[in-house]
Structures are given as C-alpha cells and as structure tokens.
Symmetry: C2
Subunit: 251 residues, 2 copies
Amino acid sequence: MGRYMLVVAYDGSEYCGWQIQPNGPTIEGELNKALSGLLRQKIEVIGASRTDSGVHSLGNVCVFDAETRIPAEKMALALNQRLPQDIRVRKSMEVPDSFHPRHADTVKTYEYKIYNDKIENPLYRLYSKFCYLNLDIEKMKKAAGFIVGEHDFSAFCSAGSSVVDKVRTVYSCDILVDEFPGEPGRLITIRITGNGFLYNMVRIIAGTLIEVGGGRTDPETVGDIIASKDRSLAGDTAEARGLTLVNIKYV
Amino acid sequence: MGRYMLVVAYDGSEYCGWQIQPNGPTIEGELNKALSGLLRQKIEVIGASRTDSGVHSLGNVCVFDAETRIPAEKMALALNQRLPQDIRVRKSMEVPDSFHPRHADTVKTYEYKIYNDKIENPLYRLYSKFCYLNLDIEKMKKAAGFIVGEHDFSAFCSAGSSVVDKVRTVYSCDILVDEFPGEPGRLITIRITGNGFLYNMVRIIAGTLIEVGGGRTDPETVGDIIASKDRSLAGDTAEARGLTLVNIKYV
C-alpha cells in the first residue's frame, strides 16, 4: 500500500465544486472514478482545497492510498486518458504515508481576474468577472497594501464558516494589468499569496478591491474594515468564475 | 431605410461557424434572430468573414439594412440583452448604403494560439491548440519572416477554394510568447496581419510554423514551400479552436 499525490488543474465552469455531492458532477467525483478505473480498486481522494462551484484550478492537490505496480510518475498521463477534457492531472508522485494535504503548512496562491470594459468579451467570460465601471488601478494597489500582513480576517470570511482562529498571513497581494494591442478592454488580475485563506476570503477581498477601484470605497478604508472584523463592512463576494487556485506549496 | 454595421466578438466553440446552415447554431443565425426580434422586421446580416466552425472572433464585422428609429449607437447594448453569452456586439454604427463588408479594402489581423507544455491546461483548451513538442521559438520567428510580403499563397490554401488570384500581402507575422510565473507551460501566439487571407491560410501557416518549431521542417524551407505553390508541401491545417479573428480595418 502506498500514498500518492496528484496536482490537478481544472476548468470549474461545469462542476459543482471539488467536493462530492448529489446535485451534479464534481472534481473529486471525476478523480475517484478515473482512479478507481485505472487502478481497479475503490479509490477516494483527499483534497487540499475544496474549491467552490465554478472556481478553477491550476494546482490543487490531492492524495489517495492504493496498492499498485503502476509507477507513480506514469499515473498522470494514464489518468488524463480517462478524465474529461476540463480536468487534467499535471503531476503524480509517491509521498510518505503520513502526508495529509490539509494538515501541513502551505503557501497558497490564488488569482482573481476581472475583465474591465464597457462590453463583455466572450473569450474571457468563463475565467473572469466582468466589470463595466472603469477601475482605478492605483487605488486598487493602495488598498491591496492593507491586505498584506498578519491580520484577523473575520471581515473577509463568509458567515457559516466554523473556523475559530481567523488570523492569517497574506504575503503579497498584487494588481497586474494586461492591455491588448488594438483592443478596448483590459484584464486585471489580483494575485494573492498567503499561508491560508478563510471561506470565500479571496472572493471577498476581490469584491472589496473592486469597490475601491470603482470609487465607492477609499483605499484607506480597507484598513478600517480589517480592524472592524465585521463582514458587513467588506465588499460583496465576487463571483466564482473569476477565481483560480494557482498553486499550493508545501513548506 | 438605413444600413448599419456591427463589430461582433464570439467564442466559436459551440457554433457551426458564421454562416447559416441546417446542422446547428451559427453566429449569423443568432445575430439575425436577435436583430429581427429587436427591430421587429426580418433582418439578414452580411458578414465580412465567414469564419469556420470553432473559430473565435474579437472583431468580425457585418452589416444589415433596416427601418428603425433606434439610434445606431444604442443597438449594441440592446442586442447583447438578446444574444447568448458567447456572442457580444462590441460596436454598432450607421454606414453609407454603398458599404459592403466584403467588397472593400481591408487589413485583417488574426491570432493563432498554441499552448506548449507536456500536459494540457484546461483553462486554455478552448482557445488554443495543445502542442506537446517543445517548440523552438527562434526557428518559428525565422520561418515567419518568409511569410511576410506579397506572395502567391497557393501552398497555404485549402483545396476546394474557388478563388483564382491567390496573391496576398502579409504585412507582419509575429511570434509572441507568454510565460506564467511558477507555471510549467507557455502560450505561443502567432499574430498575423495582411490585406486578405485565403481559405484556411492562417491555420495552414500555423501548422507549418509548428512543424518548423518542432524541428520537422527547416525555417528556410518555408520560402521554398511558398515558391512551390504546392499545398501538399505545407504543414497540416491547425485546428480551428486556436484561431481568433482579432480585427478588420477598412482602409
């Protein structure tokens, strides 16, 4: 019996999130099916991040235990033959039996993308939130500066989370802008790295930075919102399609 | 009665191309439906470029004639309320009655995108061709240099085209590379601008440049392929999903 780890990318558009549930297809469900078929035994993966419905990934991680003679490194390609096109295993490897993807220190990176223009762009609709208001990038960068550091992020956590300790450290929160030659719109990426994120934290930070960019909230107010620990003062939870889990680093 | 022009963006993934046909939904068909509903009269658009099934657009152009009091500039937003999410009118305006989108001098820009990595990336699968072979960018750039200029592009035209004069001028053919921090893959864009393109010309150029990048053809051979006027010497027609019509400029 060995323990194996997979790094998994997916387009979350057509899935009810990571975690298995009765209402529709899930990433976890598709992986269990492909693995059980390949290894001819019942496999149940344990995921690092149970991403919400519609959220994308370039680097979610999961582990499973199996008895097999297939070399760990060959599993990725073999699984991709069995998985739908919108899920791809990017890497497979053996890990120690004691390794648990959620009970380990990690640095996670997320990106939240905003397509900023007067009219939507069909080629970005699946992987970004559309924003009609012209966003002030300098204000967003200033506001992002308040997010960085060790804070109690209660104001940026959706109700219903059972987590008690809401202190997390954000190592960086950058605002990147792609302009396209000859094109009217632009793509704004909020890239955020930290040692852990509360439920919906990145999407609430994105919603708050969009309010700042649109002029509804001053950049300095973001510091006050953090200090208040009051969810009602932060912005809306920005829609799932804009969010991608880019990377999980085990440290 | 007035003549109106629309600039139309679309994700071609779910369509049987621009031109109306019995087998499935088309961009032209969706536009006619939305326009006829909005303007309460039978509208039939004339498109500038009848893109193939699966090809995308950021700037295709069409015109139609209608009797209406709706200001031309307001049509884009009103049409977008009626169109599916993967089609968006980016601009609407009145044009002279004599304007025909195909009988006018134009400069067209296309992009062909290649996702270059060992394993596919689900977030790029709809808008790029996947290429497993590590492509040599410098060789591709060298080969692209042979494409630029006025040439008889018979070698880069699919059989079945009824066009007689196959001389076209390519103004530029650039190879652009996006690398992603911390990510294994990269996105290669072939951006090509010219005064006209033969049937499948950009996709055959892309297929040929991929052969050069993968080491199967020397960059210098591309000059010989053009001179030969022999379709069988050029590369495969690269798949439709990688192609986007970026822009049509009327000059």
